[in-house]
Symmetry: C2
């Protein structure tokens, strides 16, 4: 098995060694300009055009992350970026599910237990127990219902928060209220106290979290963006926070990354910014995932994780 | 069944109604000065002396909370405060376990995912992913191994944090490393990255979290106090934070409550103060617990939750 590897940020040598250890008989090489030699698989993140174009013999291109919007954007502008018949896969979980759970549970509990309100009181030196929220009135609504949404939903249910999801197709997950399709969006939002975005980034979801959507939430709702910055119309969010429609927001992703120093989101007292760290591709988990994925593909199976290049996820 | 009720802060009429609904045949009355009429049980919080002294016919005094240090302190000064043969019970859980889990998990994840460090970076407008901590090196050590400690331990295990407890006697809890006795304390502390205090307040545990104990933790440890303020020598904690031995602390309880405005803990940038709200006695859960407890006592059983008046918990 010949594997090409390209990632602009990772310690590629370490990945090559780990992959070769995990897949007996595999030869993994870091792709460099001019390398046109044969390969079965290409493991990539932000790959240059000349790496993949014309590689008709690839069995698959595998993106080393969960969001493949950047690959698909290049493909849209340049249909030969990946040969048409070569399937594109993404890491659906590979350790990211647990990281998303950590992030989501810590934020939801932080808001549910009013730690930010207590921090405000601390600044004033005020010892003042506040009214407690009830879990029954702390509904968490997740936009998107993929593998990561499922992980997040499952991590919230044990705390007794009502959990609902919104997606294109109805899901049958135990304990989760599934809403599907555009027509049900306002119903989904109307009782969502904490909105968690985990949508894929497609032309249909671009800018979807706008004034109109935010206005459908109950007043004083919370927003956690774990998807893509492009899902949120940032001026609309700031206006909704100004009016009290949204009370606090945590944004792990923003429209322009790194967030420019001049962006007012940095300084909003009720906005938490983290630098796109909610879930990273971790070597150990990813190598296990990739070995399984490539072995399945070698045996002619169609494992989960294939991206519909038109639908966009 | 005749029940006396006394709580200086609760809406007593609401409790009386709920208890009478939950226990068919029970008569519950709010104790008032001069009421010397017969009673089977006394449900109390900070009771006045004349309420319990001389009530030889009580089947039990039940404290409406988990920590009974205030009752025992009065008893120590005044051996007749509760008749010697009347057993004292406390609410071991009654909904407090889940609240402690919410509090502990949110704090441990907050530190594990470095949200405070990211908040510091946000203040400077810096977009800078930080090195991730590994769960394997994020050992949580719980001082105390009662019902609430067990709840907290169980809520941390699913996240893969190594969990250990320290108590008088060895515990056999699945997945938890139990340390017991004074001689093992420094071993327990030596690998505890996050120290959670859930000890009962007794003369033996008073001021136990001092310079010497904190020095046994690995450098840069975190402290979460969910027990009593009197467990911590606050000057020693501040000194340990000054030196970097303790990196961040969350204190739900402090030596003097409410914390005086002049206390430097309010203003320490790495200290979080919450006003003793980690776990409160909630009516619905408590009523179910109390009904079960009193019915068991009526039938001559010895249910869990009895306080050893000498040992102190």
């Amino acid at each position: 098995m010949q594997i090409l590897f390209y990632h602009p940020d990772f310690d590629s040598s370490l990945w090559v060694r780990s992959l070769e250890q995990a897949i007996p008989g595999a030869t993994v090489r870091i792709w460099k300009p001019g390398d046109n030699a044969t390969a079965d698989f290409a493991l990539v993140w932000h790959p240059p055009r000349e790496m993949l174009a014309g590689r008709d013999n690839l069995k698959a291109v595998i993106a080393l992350g969960a969001g493949v919007d950047s690959v698909l954007n290049q493909l849209k502008q340049d249909p030969d970026f990946i040969p048409a018949h070569v399937p594109l896969y993404r890491l659906e979980d590979a350790g990211m599910g647990k990281q998303m759970q950590e992030f989501a549970v810590s934020q939801v509990l932080r808001w549910f237990r009013r730690f930010d309100d207590y921090q405000d009181l601390q600044r004033e030196g005020r010892w003042e127990p506040l009214e407690e929220y009830q879990t029954s009135e702390f509904t968490v609504g997740i936009l998107g219902a993929g593998v990561l949404s499922k992980c997040v939903a499952e991590s919230l249910l044990p705390w007794s928060f009502p959990v609902r999801t919104w997606s294109r197709q109805v899901k049958d997950w135990p304990g989760v209220h599934s809403f599907a399709g555009k027509a049900s969006l306002s119903d989904f939002l109307s009782e969502t106290r904490v909105l968690i975005n985990l949508l894929p980034h497609t032309p249909q979801t671009e800018g979807m979290i706008d004034q109109q959507l935010l206005a459908c939430l109950p007043q004083g709702a919370f927003l956690l963006n774990l998807g893509r910055g492009a899902h949120v119309v940032e001026d609309d969010l700031l206006a909704a926070m100004e009016s009290g429609q949204i009370t606090r927001a945590t944004l792990d992703v923003v429209r322009e990354e790194p967030l420019p120093a001049s962006n007012p989101l940095w300084r909003h007292p009720h906005v938490t910014i983290t630098p796109h760290i909610a879930a990273s591709t971790r070597l150990e988990d990813a190598v296990i995932y990739l070995a399984k994925l490539m072995n399945a593909l070698e045996q002619g199976e169609i494992p989960p994780g294939q991206v519909d290049k038109v639908r966009g996820y």
